[in-house]
């Protein structure tokens, strides 16, 4: 093939410009710290990175929800556990009151007073709030119980999505814990109310009947407390796992999107050397022609 100087100039220029393009590409990667500058750099990796990004956002949200669920459940757990002591004390008072049934009205009065104050404390537990929201009244706004012990909430569930396709119901409604109002027995507050009156009046048969009712209410309460306790304990695990998940996704995303710094710098250096070499070669081959030798 006949080769002329203009052909050499042309191909040298092309080579130089493509070499410069590669250098610029390497520099872009090194300075931006990203290996996926555009989707077409690597379509498959782009799709993977986008999926990971979405999972990461979801996971961040789930970590938030898990924290919220954990706060909600541990608040409920602490409140209900403290209530257990109050119920035990109520039972002790009733037993003492039965033994002292014959004693003077002043003693009975003081027992009744204590029962009423226990009822008030339990009522305040029933109105426990988390993040300014009553936790035992379902999805209703405001307080769960009024002063008379009437339930103001609804039966709604409060759900948190704490992990991919895992949602946790974080609430129990008032009636589940404290019993349903009305009927022959009524809820815990009604039982305690009647019990205080019976103790006050020294009505032994009534006291015995209500003591049984109190025991039943206490069983229901304990069962609800246990349920919440188990859920709260499980949330610890779930939260840890959600945090781990987030970390794993962050690492995965970094692997997909970020450059290996050392590798990128070596690439830049390599392309730079290559470019300089082509410049030197170009400087050598372009000038000489027959004119330089004919005098």
């Amino acid at each position: 093939m006949r080769v002329t100087s203009s052909m050499m100039v042309r191909s040298t220029l092309r080579d130089l410009s493509s070499s410069l393009e590669r250098l610029q590409d390497a520099q872009n990667r090194a300075t931006s710290g990203k290996q996926l500058l555009r989707p077409s750099n690597n379509p498959t990796a782009t799709a993977a990175a986008m999926t990971t990004r979405q999972e990461l956002r979801r996971s961040e949200q789930m970590v938030k929800e898990a924290e919220d669920a954990k706060g909600w459940l541990s608040t409920a757990d602490a409140a209900l556990t403290s209530g257990l002591d109050l119920l035990r004390r109520a039972n002790d008072v009733v037993v003492a009151a039965r033994n002292a049934a014959t004693s003077d009205p002043a003693t009975r009065q003081s027992f009744a007073l204590e029962l009423r104050s226990l009822r008030a404390e339990l009522l305040s537990i029933a109105n426990t709030k988390y993040a300014d929201r009553s936790i035992f009244n379902g999805n209703a706004a405001g307080a769960a119980y009024d002063a008379t012990g009437a339930y103001l909430g609804d039966t709604g569930d409060v759900v948190r999505d704490v992990a991919p396709s895992l949602s946790v119901t974080v609430n129990v409604t008032g009636p589940t814990v404290f019993g349903t109002a009305g009927g022959p027995v009524g809820n815990l507050f009604e039982v305690l109310d009647r019990l205080a009156t019976a103790v006050e009046t020294g009505n032994d048969t009534a006291i015995a009947a209500e003591q049984a009712n109190l025991a039943a209410a206490r069983d229901a309460y304990t069962a609800a407390t246990a349920t919440i306790g188990v859920r709260a304990a499980r949330m610890e695990q779930i939260e840890t796992r959600a945090a781990d998940d987030k970390l794993r996704l962050l690492t995965q995303l970094s692997n997909a999107e970020d450059i290996d710094v050392v590798d990128a710098l070596i690439q830049v250096k390599q392309q730079e050397t290559r470019y300089q070499a082509s410049l030197q070669v170009a400087a050598r081959i372009i000038p000489p022609s027959l004119m330089d030798f004919l005098r």
Binding site: S5, P39, P43, R57, R58, N139, G156, S289, L294
Partner: protein
Amino acid sequence: MPSIGSLTTSVSGLNAQRRVLDVTAHNIANANTEGYHRQRVELRSLSITGVSGIFSGPSRQMGVDATKVTRAYDELLATRFQREDAARSNANALRTTMDTIEKLFPEPGDLGIAHQLDQFWASWSSVATNPGSAAARQELLARADQLVSSLNRAAADLQGVAETAMARVGLMAEDVNSLADQLATTNRAIGSSANPSPDLFDYRDQLIGQLARLTGATARITDNGMADVYIGNRALVVGADLVEPVDGTTGALRWVNGNQPVVITSGEAAGLAATINDIVPRYQAMIDGIASNLVTGVNALHVAGYDQAGATGWNFFDPTALTAGTIALSADVAGQPGRIAAGAPVLPGPTAPGPLDGGQAREIARLADAAGGVNAQYRQMITALAAETRGATTRAAVQDQVAETAAMDLKSIGSVDLDEEMATLVSAQRAYEANARVITAIDEMLGFLIERTGVVGR
């Protein structure tokens, strides 16, 4: 008179060598001219037997003829280069389009639509966790607004890509007509000259090359050196006539007579036509599908949900705006965060849930993970875009290489080599000197004859 005849022979030699020098100078002057093909003087020896004279035998007219100048050119290689060059500008146009479209979707990153979708769903989940919070609801509306305007902008930008291409087609039509006109004029100049200059042919070939680059036009060289140019088998230029101009004002190339579309298979025009008729509509359809799924998916749940006041039936997005260009928040919720239907209906009934229920907002937030949902659809679109862009880039690079090889083959024959020209220069110069020496020799011979003979009896 052989010696007198030698004088003529040498004069023809002098002329011929001077012509060689002229052409060499022309070559060197045009060493870097694009489209120039080196020229050669075709030297031909003359040897004509003349009529016998009275005192001489039959004389022979000798010498060299240097009237014909040819250019180093290979029609086959030139045609191949034109074809590959047209394909190259087609591939480049496609690559530019894909590049532009790709830049409209900066993924993966915090600026893309994917990120805004993620934030949109996250806001729903915030509302679900905190249905009573006005801040969470307000934020959701703001995020939705951002998402909507990003989709609007993407649609407008895509349309912009098509419109730019259409404007380019309009300019191209003018270019094509002007080139065709110049070619017709050049053809006329070639046809009217008995011995047309090689530079005219270079000019003709360059015009053909430009027409091929623009429209993939093909040329047929006729016997008299004129070029007939066809686009899609319909004549643009025949001989000295511009047969039929084209029009590009509608965004597509059309023949002026009969307003029929120009059949284009290569060249920049093919790339632009693909941009306008295939690529942009395809991605518009994809992003419209995403917008429409977003609207219907969210609305289906939202209409069934209950707002803070226990009212139901609100649309979240405008249900009549189902394209990316038009998608908008519905008048039901725009500016009224209290109307976001976070509450799930209580079944059977359905009746309104408590005001702090976030069940429906949670269902909407779960759309983020839905198989075949909006996120997955968008991801598919980006993957398709990335793959197509990569393909277009690779094809353009390959075609560039092919066209460059063809250009090199053509240049290998036609380009000026300065070394070669220097050698020609030296040899022509020497030959000129030698011819001059012959004339001096003959002159001396004649002088000797005139001065030294016939002196007897003087």
